[in-house]
Amino acid sequence: MEATIFFVCAVIALAGAFGVVLSRNPVHAALSLVATLFAIAVLFLNQGAQLLAAVQVIVYTGAIVVLILFVLMLLGIDKEEDLRVEPLVGQRTLAFVVAAAIFGALLAVVILGGANVVTGARSVTQPLADGVQMTDIRQIGQQLFSTYVFPLEVTAGLLTVAVVGAVVLARRVRNPQPLPEPEPLDEDEDRLLYAEEGAD
């Protein structure tokens, strides 16, 4: 049963991921991302992490992706991107090589490592919930407010900073200075800030 669900979700997640990367229209990319996130939420459930599945759906799809879409619509930068040209020389090739290398390395570790891929003692903090005595939502709550209480408080500060920063960054300025157009790269090496000789 678990395997079936896994494969279905894995296919959906991969399709969504490729959709994000390959769709020319940003809105399509965002909707593909939603599919991926949902699939991953189901995979969380599949592994017995009910709280995370719910949070994944609520926070990621319900908040983050919606926010991205919102900005897309607001700014009107939802025009399609021409993916056939790549202005940067060798960028696409190299990116593919790098991505393949990352994937290959990770896969090598996972396949070759097998059961030893994860190291460390078992159940150091707390064994996983069995769903009868203890639910994982309760467990995470207990951990957050005991072992991980300091990171939790720091996270509160981080969120505050993020909110303030977002407000400051996105506030409407009076008369925005247009950003300068980048000059074409010049080839002469003597574009220097000071005179060649003399000023002793």
């Binding site: 960028q91 190299l94 790098v98 290398a101 390395a105 090598a108 570790v109 490592g113 090496e189 002793d200």
Partner: protein
């Protein structure tokens, strides 16, 4: 009473601060009166402290004001070390300074920077008192540099004139050499004793290795040579006459230039534990300077230049005294010299003032009728310096010569020749300025003769160095073109004459401080004795009769010098040209030789150094810069500005890191 000692330097400092803050608003003459009052109050406190110090055990009083530099085992506090030596110095410094402050009020009348002048003077007095009262070498050095700084400020006080600014620079640069030696001496002292506080290290001096002591003393002596204008670092003092005359009197005659003597007296235990030849070196440098400067003084025409060379010569006597171990004789001569030399300088300033700024003695003459007070006091100063009994200079100079004879007859002989020359050139000055014809007067019946005299006097000057400031070549103008119509010299105001009178009295009777016999009259010597106990001072074994004989010899020598001058300048029996050779007029060509050397080979050397610096040092630096620029010009293309390119590089780095980690854990 003694506890008030901190007030002595504090009062001039307060005056300085007040003048800095509000001097311009006070203006003339209030700023001058304020400064004078501060120094006078300082003198009054000094007298009170002196009365209190006599009741202190051992005549020593120390007072630590506050901690200044605590650094590990190196500790320097701002403290006061008051003993007989520093007390004597403080008394005559504040006394003479107060008089000169008073004099300056009249002399600087109408100067646009009147308050600033007094600001510098007060700062100078403060620095001098720090130098004298400081309880350690570092504090003394602070005062040492302070008086130096004020000296340069005041030499170039009228900096609108290029020559004055140059004179200030010259004093500064020359003194730098001496200050270097003084600093090395301080370092060596700390290295040897682990302390620079007098009360801590002087008692340890007798146990010091002779080599170390020699090194320290020689280094401090280099400092003293610079500050006290001895051979070879004397060249700045004649030029320092570019400053206002009160400055010449206070700084370049009475107080600052004696600082070197003071420091050597202060470290007398070190001199005692140095090698035997060290005091001889000091003595010979002193007596050599005394003779050398006296020869130059015989042929100068600038009224202040004569006194400047005379000062160098007299300080030479003080070094001679230090060298032969007669420290109190050095201090005695320092005090009397402060009296009569300040008097002579102030008198010269009064003449200059009366002559409306004329400093060339060839244009003076017959001033005794028009400026009686100045003239009488000037004559007293002349007799004092010439060594005519019973004036003060006679006693102090004779004391030094007596000890020199006991030490080494050669020193005595040279010193005696210098004394003869001293009497001669001072008499020459007096006869040229006070007697003879009124050469400044265009209507004088002796004008033709005067012109002839002037022409003849100038004829000897084949060449004149640019640094010497003498009117070059033969004087061809006459008095009518040099002085305005109806020109008459006038007596100076009372603020200038009162100090002259006071100093004249002091110069006349100053000798009572230390009359040669009986022993009970050695007041100064017995007062200073505790200071020099460790310094193994010289002992005199002469009988009273032989001392009388020496006194007679000194008197004869002084009168002979005066007589020769009278024959030449009063009676005109000998043509003045024959006793004023060009080589002496140009001060043995020392300045012009230095100028020629620096203008020729020295300039070439400096030029070569500069070229080498440009090619090698700058070349290396610029080469590094060029290489950096060349590399950067190519490396710039890495910084393309594309975020995605950067991200790609991050990703490549991540892959490489991952690969490296994989090779490390490739155990499976």
């Amino acid at each position: 009473m003694v506890d008030l000692v901190w007030l002595i330097p504090a009062l001039p400092l307060a005056g300085f601060v007040l003048l800095v803050l509000a001097g311009r608003r006070m203006g003339e003459p209030f700023a001058g009166w304020l400064a004078t009052a501060m120094v006078a109050a300082s003198f009054a406190v000094s007298v009170i402290v002196f009365l209190g110090l006599r009741n202190e055990p051992g005549h020593v009083f120390t007072q630590t004001l506050f901690e200044w530099i605590p650094a590990g085992d190196f500790r320097v506090d701002v403290g006061i070390y008051l003993d007989a030596l520093s007390m004597t110095m403080v008394l005559f410094v504040t006394g003479v300074a107060a008089l000169i402050h008073l004099y300056s009020i009249g002399y600087m009348h109408g100067d646009p920077r009147f308050p600033k002048f007094f600001l510098y003077l007060n700062l100078f007095v403060f620095s001098m008192l720090v130098l004298v009262l400081g309880d350690n070498l570092v504090l003394t050095f602070l005062g040492w540099e302070g008086v130096g700084a004020c000296s340069y400020f005041l030499i170039s006080f009228w900096f609108e004139d290029e020559a004055n600014a140059s004179a200030g620079k010259k004093a500064f640069i020359t003194n730098r050499v001496g200050d270097w030696g003084f600093m090395i001496g301080i370092f060596a002292t700390f290295f040897a004793f682990g302390s620079v506080t007098y009360a801590r290290f002087l008692p340890l001096a007798p146990g010091l290795a002779a080599t170390t002591a020699t090194f320290i003393v020689l280094m401090l002596f280099v400092g003293a040579i610079g500050k006290s204008a001895q051979i070879p670092l004397y060249i700045w003092l004649p030029d320092a006459m570019a400053g206002p005359t009160p400055v010449s009197a206070l700084i370049h005659a009475a107080t600052m230039v004696t600082a070197g003597v003071y420091v050597l007296c202060r470290v007398n235990p070190l001199i005692a534990s140095a090698y035997d030849w060290v005091p001889s070196v000091i003595a010979w440098v002193g007596v050599g300077t005394a003779l050398f400067a006296a020869t130059i003084a015989t042929s100068q025409y600038d009224i202040k230049k004569v006194l400047a060379y005379s000062t160098i010569s007299q300080i030479g006597y003080m070094f001679l005294a230090v060298g032969v171990g007669a420290y109190w004789a050095a201090i005695f001569h320092m005090v009397t010299h402060a009296f009569f030399k300040a008097l002579l300088f102030l008198g010269a300033g009064s003449f200059i003032h009366g002559m409306h700024g004329e400093q060339d003695m060839r244009w003076m003459g017959a001033l005794r009728k028009l400026m009686p007070v100045t003239s009488v006091t000037f004559i007293i100063g002349w007799l004092a310096i010439a060594g005519v009994p019973p004036f003060s200079g006679f006693w102090s100079k004779d004391e030094i010569l007596t000890y020199a004879l006991a030490h080494n007859p050669g020193l005595y002989a040279v010193g005696l020749v210098a004394a003869l020359l001293t009497a001669y050139y001072m008499s020459r000055q007096v006869f040229m300025v006070l007697y003879g014809d009124a050469r400044w007067s265009a209507s004088s019946e002796a004008e033709a003769e005067a012109k002839a005299r002037v022409a003849s006097a100038g004829a000897g000057e084949a060449e004149v160095s640019a640094a010497d400031g003498q009117p070059a070549g033969t004087v061809t103008e006459d008095a009518a073109s040099r002085f305005p119509e109806g020109f008459r010299p006038h007596e100076s105001p009372w603020t200038m004459t009162v100090p002259l009178v006071v100093l004249a009295v002091l110069a006349a009777i100053g000798g009572v401080l230390n009359l040669p016999f009986p022993d009970s009259l050695h007041v100064l010597e017995h007062w200073l004795e505790p200071v020099f106990v460790l310094g193994q001072p010289a002992e005199l074994t002469y009988s009273d009769l032989s001392i009388v004989g020496l006194l007679v010899v000194s008197t004869v020598v002084a009168l002979a010098g005066i007589g020769i001058a009278a024959v030449v300048f009063l009676k005109g029996r000998i043509d003045a040209r024959r006793v004023e050779p060009a080589v002496l007029q140009n001060a043995w060509y020392v300045d012009s030789s230095i100028a020629a050397f620096m203008g020729g080979p020295g300039y070439e050397l400096a030029d070569g150094t500069a070229t080498a610096d440009r090619l090698v040092v700058d070349g290396a630096v610029n080469g590094i810069g060029r290489a950096t620029r060349w590399t950067a010009a190519r490396a710039r293309y890495l910084q393309s500005g594309f975020v995605r390119a950067y991200a790609l590089m991050v990703a490549v780095g991540a892959v490489l890191l991952g690969a490296w980690v994989l090779t490390k854990v490739a155990a499976w």
